[in-house]
Symmetry: D3
Subunit: 172 residues, 6 copies
């Protein structure tokens, strides 16, 4: 049995993420999706809560054959203990998937096998693109799984993102 670990912020979970999972599914029997910056929400860069992102991931992957786990990972703000933090929060895994240079470096220094994919970069771009379209009333729906459209609607996600995009701080 092989288990993979795929870290992202999933703000929101979009088609690029789903494609990545499809690709990874060829390598592993089970896949943990680590939801990074889990404690952040209501910002332009991280609009959705961890709970909302768990829903997006779980509902989007319901028809996939591999077993998946959606696990929130709160920020620790300490790169030197980040891998241990991830390992304590996640079911044990054999391979990490990431294209982020810092993540790759941290996993490597800890002796963990990391695999990259050309797809990752596209995925990052898509996250920004989806949020941008949400803010500007653009066509964001085609970029995400149908389940995500439903969840964003239910929680008033577009209104939230449009509201907070005019703001940078608490108070004054």
């Amino acid at each position: 049995m092989t288990r993979g670990f795929y870290i992202g912020r999933f703000q929101p979970f979009h088609n690029g993420h789903r494609n990545m999972v499809e690709q990874i599914a060829d390598d592993v029997d089970e896949l943990v999706l680590g939801i990074g910056s889990a404690d952040d929400s209501h910002t332009t860069r991280n609009p959705f809560t961890a709970g909302e992102r768990i829903m997006m991931i779980t509902k989007s992957l319901v028809d996939f054959d591999i077993v998946t786990y959606a696990v929130p990972i709160e920020d620790l703000e300490r790169n030197s203990v980040w891998v241990s933090h991830v390992q304590s929060m996640s079911p044990d895994f054999d391979i990490a998937y990431s294209n982020n240079p810092l993540v790759i470096q941290l996993f490597r220094e800890a002796g963990i096998d990391v695999r990259q994919s050309p797809m990752f970069n596209r995925e990052v771009l898509e996250g920004t693109e989806v949020r941008e379209r949400m803010i500007t009333d653009g066509e964001w729906e085609p970029l995400v799984p149908e389940a995500v459209v439903e969840i964003v609607d239910e929680i008033g996600g577009i209104e939230r993102l449009q509201m907070i995009s005019g703001s940078d701080s608490n108070g004054e």
Copy 2:
């Protein structure tokens, strides 16, 4: 669609927990299992990491009909914001299940419907009992689902618990 929230530390997930889930399954379509004190591990009271507990829960409930989510909840050490913290980490829920007086009070002050069950108390006793038997080489296996026996074996859980039960602090 009704979703329930059931908070516990699940150290480890045992038959009392599984029975509770069975009972709750009559009320709800989906159930979130909130793993309390997720950031604690390697103590007599909290021997297992959040990741290990996610595995125990998921593998033990694999045959249940309702959709379940296992969500780690890190301690915030602030009762006044605890409910908001839980709500941000968990998929949205309609009913909370607990027999812990503090948890009940906090949910009630936040206007959330809480249900109690006589079963909860038995469950608390069983958690302590299971750990006690693990430490003293007693018969703990009959008290937990088979999947939990396998996971505890794989991670060397008995050795870990027996080792740390002779210790109270880091250093000196």
Copy 3:
């Protein structure tokens, strides 16, 4: 102009505290009441939130001649920086009032004038006594200012304290 600083947890603000303020009022023109453990609430030892305690203090001292400030002080869990923390949160003060040995030692090491009073000990005893009577449906009302009785009633304080007194932890 002389300003005093009087630290307590004020759980709740009771007649012993009010008497202390009366006594201190002979020494100073203005008095800061530092509300310790401001971030703690909903425990047997710290049942009330900082906001509730600000109300109790302000309403109880409304007829006093000296200017008073009620300032929440969150716990930092670091004795070595505690005095600096207090100084940054409070209007500047000339004299600190406390009978707590640790507080006296910390202020003294920082070169701040601290005054003790035999009254303080009585006051500590009264805090525990008031909470004990609240839990056991005893006669707590005569031990606190009238304004505190009203506030405790409004917020359902007795029910809260009685509920949580049966509990020690979140979850399980």
Copy 4:
């Protein structure tokens, strides 16, 4: 009895803030002034400590008819629990006043009545303007209440702000 909550950083408390309080005073009997980023100080954006800001607010509002509370609110860096945090630190309130989009969104999601005012924007601009003039030896005194001028002088506020405006970090 109606109580309002008005959040700001008050760095420093200036005439725009005082005008806002005057306007809000028509709606409410009591007003809580929540001092945001209370734990921040000695930066160009947040030069004054919470204690200094409490003094500025209290001394500036001493002749106002409504009861006011100046309450420091430390940053929690978690938008999802921010409203609960504010509620635990503040006397209970009925209406929140803010023009900050994030604050409005957070209060609204928590079901709290928020009121905006065209005056708020002017106020934000004035905060930056006052600090800019302090740094460049400009005419900042006409923009703040007289009590604030006195406090800034007493604490050596201009010298502090001018000194730190040449710096971005601790160390190296």
Copy 5:
């Protein structure tokens, strides 16, 4: 070149610790002394600051032949990341020395070689004994290196410990 790591709280550094260092010096070329609970001070269990303990260790070991490093390790309150935290704060080491069961277990799970010594237990007892004698005006001086006697005198350590031993908390 072999480097060892020896963790303790060193409250204070006493003859038992010095003997341990002597014994370890046979195995290694360099030794890191990790000062646990570095952020704690002014309590009966942890009376001295990290800075004071660095002085005690450095002055007591000045005549030893091996190179030593005294490194403060702040508590993280998370056993699962504790080893990574220690590794990031300390010069790289080959062997860890401890008799504490939790510390041994954590290092072992991280694949680090840990050595125990019968001497360790005696050492723990001595720490408590030294502090007890300091509080009760007993003969503590023979239990610690001469340099420690001087440092404790200079900082008023006996007065501090005697004062705080009558206290359990900040405030009330």
Copy 6:
């Protein structure tokens, strides 16, 4: 006996730092080197861990006549308690050395003697210059003590810095 305190991030320790220590050595008998942002690592601005920086400092100063201490100082993110934090982590000192305006202001408000030097600015520039050359395969070796070259090589520091310089965040 006079002891100085010199704060820096030492990312890495370079010739500018060593020259500063030489200069300070004329004033003091002992010198504490406070390693700022000790908990930060694996970023472009703070590539090396505290433990790695302790090694660099200790090995580079081994031939100096004055006694030196290399003490990691974790960030507290609270300017108002920063001096107390430093004082608790460091052996007691008489003079602080810094050219950073914020650091100077904080020490001065705490009544501590601070000395500046024209050399400091050069030193800051050199830190950035060294890291820039490390990233771009430039000639960084002549800018640092020989011991630092060895340590950077041993830990794979150039590879680490080049890797992470392409990254800004964990995840996505």
